[in-house]
Assembly symmetry: T
Homo-oligomer: 155 residues x 12
């Protein structure tokens, strides 16, 4: 069976694979968490937050693809299966039932803060190992930070 080889090997490859797999889990779960809040939201600010959460899902979906495809391109297997994401996600999970708008804003702000911190660690970790991967992570961090500001601004 064909396997894929890419431009990295050894420790550099291991470091990059860890960063990419971590980012992938963050982004897949972000897409699910944002949809969960998009659906179960209530409160006087329903409409603007409902729409903003969909932008967040779109962002997460677009970037999970570039991150996973970078993993394949360097010869590693991205793992986006539901059990993997469920076990390894670091995102605080939304409660079941209706979600009040103010609490959603606070919770998503915290969630994005955590993702941002992990992305910066990955950016540092991949600095020597692979500038191409680092560049993709920088692009993710920039949009996560922007969303973090916009949710935080309405707390």
């Amino acid at each position: 069976m064909a396997t894929i080889t890419g431009p990295l090997s050894g420790d550099a490859k291991d470091t990059v694979v860890d960063a990419l797999q971590g980012a992938l889990v963050d982004l897949i779960d972000l897409s699910l968490v944002a949809k969960q809040a998009h659906w179960n939201l209530v409160g006087a600010h329903f409409r603007p937050i409902h729409l903003q959460l969909d932008e967040l899902t779109d962002l997460a979906r677009a970037h999970m693809d570039t991150i996973a495809e970078r993993a394949v391109a360097i010869g590693a297997n991205p793992d986006g299966r539901v059990a993997t994401v469920s076990k390894s996600t670091k995102l605080p999970q939304p409660e079941g039932g209706w979600l009040e708008d103010g609490k959603v804003v606070a919770r998503i702000t915290d969630t994005l803060d955590g993702i941002s911190k992990r992305m910066y660690e990955r950016i540092r970790a991949t600095d020597d190992a692979d500038p191409v991967t680092q560049d993709l992570l920088i692009a993710v961090a920039q949009e996560i930070d922007k969303q973090h500001w916009m949710f935080q601004a309405q707390r």
Copy 2:
């Protein structure tokens, strides 16, 4: 805190909520399973299957939204959190690592066959309870059956 009321109540509502939550889990996991195969695929038929799997993800994402929003519209809370999906999914899970094209076609065919069967049960179950929900499930089944044929045709 505001909660949502809708056009259904009692047993009818319970039946419909079950059907919608089941369909939601099927569709969310289908979007993840199709992406996993989209990324880890190898084999001489790589490109057409790679593209077709993305159509499957798009289909799953579009319908998970109409299904979950129907649940909210009848006053129930759709649950699309990763732990919920992980625990309750009935989809056969892809193995880790590289996935050969022939096996992917066979596995996705089986996966779609299972989803189709469950959708038909839900269509029957909601016949009396809610024609609006039934109509949404019929639309899902039609597209799942079509994808099932097209994967099956290339086995």
Copy 3:
């Protein structure tokens, strides 16, 4: 003078005509009621509700056309004249003057709740008489229920 004949006759046709004329009046007045609120709205939530009311008008205008054209297609005359709508509408009418955002949300929620109930009655009534008309009414009910949820969610 030419008149139109269609696939229905007798009681089935009468039942379907009643359902379609009732739905037409609901949708025409919904388009006017939503515009009245769109224009006279005030309050801190002005902008999201102002935009959402225009979506409601668009929805009402799109469906009034399919409903009226179904009536003609079965050989009946839809009546959308202003005097007819004014006399037969069942929608609670907005007061004159400025309309506060919170009250608009509550009032539109009730208005959509009433339309939804009448649409379900029409769906049941046309079940035997004409599955084509029923299908159009189901499509209307699905979107009315969705708007009902979204207005209700921000009360």
Copy 4:
């Protein structure tokens, strides 16, 4: 409760409000009258007139919005409720039932002639009071006159 203030006051404002409310009623009822004919039309010239009546509805809907929003912008409440339109409309009302193409053309020609005359009165009335409102009314009159010519040309 917030109310809106605008650039006009006193007699000037009264004059402009009257002109705008009159134009609003003309345009809302024109949209309903044109749709009524669009649906109930019969005759050998069905298709071109059917399409042209929809252009008329589009024109009426687009301008009713700019007219009503000008009213709000100067601090007045546009009244587009069905009872108001029904009571105050000056448009000749279509009969119920099928409408023959030749008669529709004649009737719409007369209807547009009446609207044009009232728009010119409003243009004169607002000349001193508000050049911004006058400019919006001139734009309406130009399109009404153009439609008047095109219906008249096929009598």
Copy 5:
């Protein structure tokens, strides 16, 4: 050689296959009949009818695809070969040579009336057997009825 299996079997499948094959022949021949008239039309109403006949061809082509693909999805072979259509079509055939506009309108009206009647029979026949197929047939019937009205209106 691969064959396709689908969600139906036994009598239900036979019933649905008959309905789909009948609808397919109706739609393929409708696309040819409408083109024949589109090309050979003469008369003072040439242009609007010429354009409307092309809409009819577009409608027939779009629906023949969903109908034939539903047949494959349930594991049957749609037969759209020219000999099959020629032998089994129930559409009245246009004469050779120039076709006068009034006669075309009358003939197409009758043709659509026949297709509509057969579609309603198929809707009834598939009610128990397959709600997914039925839903596709309802969509066809709705558009056929609408075209039937619009041709009939100009007789």
Copy 6:
């Protein structure tokens, strides 16, 4: 009844009419043959061939219109009725039932080879008679030859 006169007469017109009617039958049946294969195809190369066959149908539909309209423009009646096409088609007909991908490629290659040969004869035949018709046939031949190469390349 109006009939159409055009720029040709006598033998030149007869020659051109024959060429156009022959091309019309080729193209109409090509559109049906390609659809039949598009629907009943099976095999590991399903997806790329399924898509390519739809391009073939689009090509055939676009050119049948220019060919038939050229016939009318020179005052002749194109005959695209199903019985005419069935009787006069020179295309090898697909068997009923499932069609294996390799056989479809071979069969379509042969079919396009035959159409190409007949188009070249028509191009020669119309050289003196009508350069306008010849130009349309050259455009058809160019696209048929291109499709012929692309099917042949994957045998």
Copy 7:
């Protein structure tokens, strides 16, 4: 001052320049004649003919540009000045005042018949001299013949 040289010279160039200048005058005046009728048209068939005349103007404007630019490309000066067109046009001129729909159809049919005849002469004249110019004239003739048929069909 720069002048333009091109691929032709001597008699060949003279022949081609004559053909192009003649075609240019035909097309410029066709655009004016069609607009004159578009504006001054009256009669029960007003709308379809009004729209069709605009298609004719668009066609004339598009082709006058390719024709004039071919003249420049072979080093000649196209002359599209109003005095030149006025003096050299061979198109029958519309009368002043209102133009009845039936007469417009008859007159435009004759006008297009004349242009077609002259285009065929130019196609023959340029056969040896310049196949590139001939190809542009063939494209003009094809569209003129098509419009000629469509106006003629509604006489």
Copy 8:
């Protein structure tokens, strides 16, 4: 034969008709003059001026339509025939043959200056007679002045 009546009569109508007919001749000849220069232009600044002249033609064509249609809408016959334009145009005519870029810029600047002056006279003349026509002429003058500046700036 139908004739068109509009909102004006007597002296007011005569004044407005004169203004519209004058503007129409200006705009039709501007479209021809700009094309003549577009085609026969030579010089180092060829490309930007060649493109700008096409913008001028587009502008002239768009406004000639609104101006002529306003004439019809008030019940008058716009006269855009080539002989009328040739006799009554006030535009300086381009010489035959190649046109140097610098001279074209100077000549078009003068041409636009003349049109602008006549448009301002027409704006003054229609001030009392018809504010709708005046508004259309103001829109023409604004764009003519803008083009005048842009040609003048590059002298």
Copy 9:
């Protein structure tokens, strides 16, 4: 060096230049003030106001161009340099640092009120001097008044 001449001179030109330069400064600074608030905004209504402020910037940027280009077209030099705008702006300036949503709405409402008043003065001032400039100012005033209403409505 080339300078530009236009249709105005003397006092009329001076009056119009003053009006245009004043409007230009208003619009440039409005674009900067709206962006400043767009960026530094905080509060529970962040998202709808953030988006609305960008519409305001778009509006200001579009109109500053038509206003400045009118100035050039009449032969004057618009001055949009930062020092000029800074010295001559009449807009209340936002404070540095974070800007609360409620205060932003109040401040922008006042800012638009001031701009509207100055635009009406300019409309009056240019009435005799230049109807073309007046027409551009009327278009600005209409949109400023509309934005003024929509910000005021949410106070």
Copy 10:
């Protein structure tokens, strides 16, 4: 009142804030300087430079937004008020009055050269402090350098 926190603190934050505020002032004033030249330009090369200056404004407007939003995302307040820009801009200011094309090209070349130099300093300064900000500055520098080349190339 809410304030925004972001991923940076201490010296790193101060360094990044300085770089972003400096870039913001450069870009805002570039947008104003380019518009000033766009409007007041004269000379034989008017049109291509006039258009290129608008591209420069578009570039400056697009990047000022990403730069200012990055500042907010790290918890700082971008200051784009006119007084701030006027005081702190380092761009050479255009003179009042008409601007000759050659001088504009020279002046804009110098202006872009200065901005480029400052952007490279900011890229170096943020290298350790924040790779995300650095990436945004790199994107600005790349487009500024490209514009610098294209203006310089035509000196």
Copy 11:
């Protein structure tokens, strides 16, 4: 291994293959020569010529594809490898380093003149052998001649 057969054989095929291979080399090198000048251009006319050279590249790229694909369609192998193009190109090669605008215009004019001459030879050579290939070459020649004029016009 599959090889491709097409409609030609013997001398006719050899003639056509030579013409196509010659045209292919011309067009590939034209795309490279135009890009080389697009990048290294300097001079006061930089921008319009820079843009026009990109149009030339686009034209060359579009036609090289139709030419090469015609070669394959007749069963021959187009050779577009860099060594082949380098050895067999007949285009005068640009010098290295900066290229002045006036010299670029002159050189490209000569280059296009040469290509045009060779295309006319190919058009003559393929006249008997293959009208389909000839038609593609005519389309190339028409666009090359047009570009030749437009470069020549600005010398």
Copy 12:
């Protein structure tokens, strides 16, 4: 004659120019190699590979422009002439004649592997010298690696 100066000088500039010229040759020849295979491809996987090779050409064409324009922006002359590319290319050259699909996939995989390795060297080489150039090379490498994976996956 104007020459271009940019932000770099000395060794840094030399290093960057080498990297850019090397990347330019890689990308130009990649566009030619991919087209050669696109045209001469045969085999059962023809269609997906034929399409994928065109994506590769598009990618190469888009990036060759940004790379060459960066060279000019730093004041160097990119050399994309066919002789230069032919002499300095490091890409393995395709054989003449038909190219089997499996061999094409293997050969393109190796070709992309080589380009990727050289791009990583250039990314390292430009790290200190010019972060802007490095960023463009990183973007190239990311897409080359992605294409490398996708060709490799189907070996």
